[in-house]
Amino acid sequence: MERQLLPIIKQSQIAYETFEIVFRTSLAQQLKPGQFVHIALPNHILRRPISVANVNPIENTFTIIFKIFGDGTKMLSTYQVGNTLDVILPCGSHYPIEDLHVRKALIVGGGVGVPPLYYLAKTLKEKGVDVTSILGFQGKEHVFYEEKFQQLGDTHIATNDGSYGVKGFVTDVIKQIEPEFDYYFSCGPTPMLQAVTNVMGDKQGFISLEERMGCGVGTCYACIVPLKSNPEKSLKICKDGPVFAANEVVLG
């Protein structure tokens, strides 16, 4: 983990209130799928955690994708090429794909949970894994990266309002297409993760969680999640997570 001042080398809006920023860093090659970076913004006491959405190991760059949620992400959306940002990286755990024997992977993402899954899906594909992606968005103008996912495998979109793809939730698509897979990987809002892990039952999978953070490095106990095996004990989302085995932690 290091704190670096990173130059922005690309910035663009890719969907409704959704932005993509590409940074250059000497640490790009260390960033693994599922990890996040912790970004400082002027006049804000706390950093903002944002997932790594892609890495280009040759150019030494990585991408983040974020949606305007409040003050901080709004400010972040005004940053342009040539500006620099103070970033702590790499943060947290990653999807443990080196240790898994995966042939067919199911990717299930919702909203701002989709970005880390792109880097994951790309990495899986490079390892020869068959990837099916199911991505949920609020509506048509919120959808991003559809073609990029399609290049990696079968991709299904669901929107809450039905303005694009299947009307409904990602779980509706799962029930509808009954995909074949040996591991699933999911990231999104907690209610979605609850629904997904319920539908998946005993299937093996990994999920990535969000929580409000203080330090983002594991010192302050702000971001804990209780263990399923013993709810009196907990893990830290910023350090032990954000990626956990689907049956490891209690959701919500």
Partner: protein, 304 residues
């Protein structure tokens, strides 16, 4: 220029230390710089049994500060002694243990447990955590209880005891006098101020515990005022804290009478903040005409 400072039980190479709860047990921040640079390290609160703490969300950002209601989550005093202190012993930096509890017996138990390790050089008695309702007792806002817990811990501990005062009182001087009369070797001030923030979308408090402790630059003027008042009333060393982010802030605390300082919330934004302040402090002292830390202490009181 010397930054050295001596206080009961503590020979510090400089007056800067991370504050309790904002540095864990040191491991994470040791990835960013050499912990030997620090004057001391105040570790996360220790209770008799491991504590889970409050539900999440536990933190919220405010204008120039943050609220937290961690609820004293920690692995328990035995866990800390066995699992956490060995790591810190590789450094030459003194360790101050933060002692908490819901009853006087628990405080005494924790203080006694630290007698059996040489991994700790002093105790910070946390009578002021605003986020723990268990037992219904607020030691930090009740003069008699504050005196009693100080006295009982002093009775059993072989370490010097710095009592950490709560700012959530109307008369800070009375509390300071009380715990010093009860035997406190020093004071540590201030802890967080109780606050609340509402999530407009959800129409309810952001923090699950509803209230949380306010820290960061927002509370610095309160800390400065309280140390100024207390310094005039008691004659024990003070570890000052509340919103420190720069070496200039440190000098401000020294001038009102702090002998050393702790940096809390600022670590979250800048993990290197303590190291940077320590490097900057000699220049700032010099700029304002001081040749040592010692010389600056209390100089904010000597005007007309």
């Amino acid at each position: 220029m010397t930054l050295r400072i001596s206080m009961p039980g503590l020979n510090l190479k400089n007056p800067v230390m991370p504050a309790s709860g904002c540095f864990g047990f040191g491991k994470e921040y040791s990835q960013f710089y050499d912990l030997n640079e620090l004057g001391a390290i105040i570790i996360k609160a220790a209770t008799k049994e491991p504590r889970y703490g409050n539900p999440t969300p536990r933190v919220a950002e405010t204008a120039s500060g943050m609220l937290n209601a961690i609820g004293l989550q920690n692995p328990g005093v035995q866990g800390i002694i066995e699992e956490e202190l060995p790591f810190l012993q590789q450094f030459s930096t003194p360790v101050i243990a933060n002692v908490a509890g819901s009853t006087i017996e628990e405080y005494v138990y924790v203080a006694k447990s630290f007698n059996e390790t040489n991994g700790v050089q002093a105790l910070e008695l946390n009578i002021s955590c605003p986020n723990v309702k268990e037992g219904g007792v607020q030691f930090g806002t009740d003069l008699q209880l504050a005196k009693e817990v100080t006295y009982k811990v002093k009775e059993v501990s072989r370490h010097p005891v710095y009592v950490k005062l709560s700012p959530n009182v109307t008369n800070i001087v009375e509390m300071a006098r009380g715990v010093v009369d009860a035997g406190a070797d020093g004071l540590s001030m201030i802890n967080t101020l109780t606050g609340m923030q509402i999530n407009l979308k959800m129409k309810r408090p952001i923090i699950a515990n509803k209230t949380g402790g306010l820290s960061g630059p927002a509370i610095k003027p309160i800390a400065i005022r309280m140390i100024y008042e207390v310094k005039q009333a008691v004659d024990v060393p003070i570890i000052g804290m509340g919103g420190i982010e720069t070496a200039e802030d440190v000098l401000e605390f020294l001038l009102v009478g702090a002998n050393a300082v702790a940096v809390g919330t600022a670590n979250f934004r800048n993990p290197l903040v303590c190291s940077e302040i320590i490097k900057e402090l000699p220049h700032v002292l010099e700029m304002y005409g001081f040749s040592s830390v010692e010389e600056a202490i209390g100089k904010g009181h000597t005007h007309g």
